[in-house]
């Protein structure tokens, strides 16, 4: 991104916007929002929320750093290591983000403010906590006015969570298709048979969808006045909070949930692989700031990086593995588990394809780990080795990669149900395919297995 450019996702709110300047992300506050921003600070709400790890900390910086002359103030938010999206969150991450939003709204109401929008994209995982990154999401409370962001909250949080909990956890992927949240009529149709007798879902989802459809036929959009008191507003938050707290999902029966129990590694080979990965991480120069572990499963190897203080994103296709990783390592502030299907990575979506970045756009990072992954891409998904090399070279400056040969029992499992059309899948072909983009720094056979672990350095970084 060029300097002093507004972010592609920051255009809706006239209160201000995010832009990049001198390598820093800054937020400009426009004059129209300045009085509200002043009240936000003087009420103590922002300080309270920052102390409670509910809003990303920020500092006010000099106006000379403003994007344009009309700026009333400029703030510099603490850097979030990686912007993630709701369709990449596991169930518990999604629920934590929803509950954080409601908690922010409750605390805001107590200080005579309200959230004017409740977009799931405004919540990011920062040091392990779901925090609001849009400091300008508040407006003064107007007596009698219903919650302006109620529709958005239901589309962005309630509908996906109800679908994930009651129908199929993979339905969070719908968020990638509907930029402003899952339409309530669609969510209602999908989950009605399972939630018919749930009063909370009945009110906030099914009846809500019906009233939306009814109102859509009317020409005028209107705001009734004097009909919704503060207690009702707090009651609405309380009702949504109770409903979301009760939603649950138990990860079982998915492909990776028990992967490490079914692996062909002996205890000593596994120990050696652990040592090698740590040794390879130590060889990376300069010290890595960010590691992406692709196909991370429950994050066993990702934790080797996060425990070294390296910000680590553990990507995996399986919602159960990501959920387990998140729940097991909640205290690990350097670990961010996320769902990612590498055969169909998160695309760039939204207005002009610029609102939400693709997986590749969020790289390159210092180190990419691809352990026990290549056979799934090359044999499971028929991707040529040279294409895998090209993809990995776009997202990582260093690569720790494990070659799993055809003779390995895990690869044999993949080949059991399909024709072997992979005559070029062998170690020499692998090294040749990766040679153009990467230089081999270390190469070690893992004893007790037929696998080899490589440390590769990207030639273009």
């Amino acid at each position: 991104m060029s300097d002093n450019q507004r972010l592609g996702s920051s255009f809706r709110d006239p209160s201000g916007f995010i832009y990049q300047k001198d390598g820093c992300l800054l937020r400009q506050i426009n004059p129209s929002y300045f009085p509200t921003f002043t009240s936000l600070k003087s009420s103590g709400l922002l300080d309270d929320l920052i102390r409670a790890n509910l809003v990303v900390p920020f500092e006010e910086v000099d106006l000379t750093l403003a994007h344009s002359t009309e700026a009333a103030a400029v703030i510099k938010p603490e850097k979030v290591a990686l912007i993630s999206y709701p369709y990449e969150w596991s169930f518990s991450q999604y629920r934590a983000a929803a509950l954080a939003t409601l908690q922010i709204q409750r605390r805001a109401i107590e200080k005579d403010m309200v959230l004017k929008d409740a977009s799931a994209y405004n919540i990011q995982f920062h040091n392990g906590n779901p925090v609001l990154i849009d400091t300008l999401s508040f407006e003064p409370y107007t007596p009698g006015k219903p919650w302006v962001a109620y529709r958005q909250f239901c589309q962005h949080f309630l509908a996906p969570l109800v679908l994930m909990s009651h129908v199929d956890v993979r339905l969070s992927r719908l968020m990638a298709s509907f930029i402003d949240g899952i339409p309530l009529d669609m969510a209602s149709t999908i989950c009605k048979p399972m939630t018919r007798f749930n009063a909370g879902v009945g009110m906030h989802l099914h009846l809500h969808a019906k009233l939306q459809a009814k109102a859509a036929h009317e020409e005028r959009r209107a705001t009734p006045q004097g009909a919704f008191g503060k207690n009702a507003l707090l009651g609405l938050v309380d009702s949504l909070n109770g409903l979301i707290e009760k939603l649950s999902w138990k990860p079982e029966g998915t492909e990776w949930a028990n992967y490490y129990n079914e692996t062909n590694y002996s205890e000593s080979s596994m120990g050696e692989k652990h040592r090698l990965v740590q040794d390879f991480l130590d060889l990376v120069t300069p010290l890595p700031e960010m590691v992406w572990d692709l196909g991370a499963n429950n994050g066993e190897f990702s934790a080797l990086a996060s425990k070294r203080g390296i910000q680590t994103v553990a990507w995996d296709i399986d919602p159960a593995a990501v959920e387990k990783n998140y729940l097991m390592r909640k205290g690990d502030t350097k670990m961010l588990p996320l769902i990612q299907d590498l055969t169909n990575p998160s695309p760039a979506i939204g207005w002009a394809n610029q609102e939400r970045e693709s997986l590749i756009q969020r790289g390159p990072v210092d180190v990419v780990m691809a352990l026990a992954l290549i056979h799934h891409l090359a044999i499971g998904n028929n991707v040529p080795l040279s294409d895998i090399s090209q993809f990995l070279s776009r997202i990582g400056k260093w690569l720790i990669i494990e070659f799993v040969p055809k003779e390995d029992s895990q690869t044999q499992k993949l080949l059991a149900a399909k024709e072997d059309v992979f005559p070029h899948y062998h170690r020499d072909a692998f090294e040749l395919a990766f040679h153009n983009a990467f230089e081999i720094i270390r190469k070690v056979d893992i004893s007790g297995t037929q696998r080899t672990l490589y440390l590769l350095k990207n030639r273009s970084h």
Binding site: A149, Y150, R151, R221, A222, T223, P224, F228, A232, D238
Partner: protein, 75 residues
């Protein structure tokens, strides 16, 4: 009777929407249906919250009383 009350509430809320209304100014589309739902349930939501808060306060008061009683006993 309950059914009748519900119908009356719905009619009153709908009338409210189309008579004493003004345009929404938020940059977020609140959605008329979403507003209508909140207004329909305003009484229930507000009442439930007030009752919950009152019950919570009562519990707190009783707990404090019991606690201070225990303190006196032990003294």
């Amino acid at each position: 009777m309950k059914q009748m009350n519900r119908v009356l509430n719905l009619v009153a809320a709908t009338a409210c929407i189309f008579t004493i209304c003004q345009p929404a100014h938020g940059y977020i589309d609140a959605g008329s249906g979403s507003y209508l739902l909140q207004i329909l349930f305003a009484g229930i939501l507000g009442g439930a919250f007030a009752a919950k808060s009152a019950f919570g306060n009562l519990k707190l008061m009783v707990a404090r009383k019991l606690h201070s009683g225990k303190g006196k006993d032990s003294a």
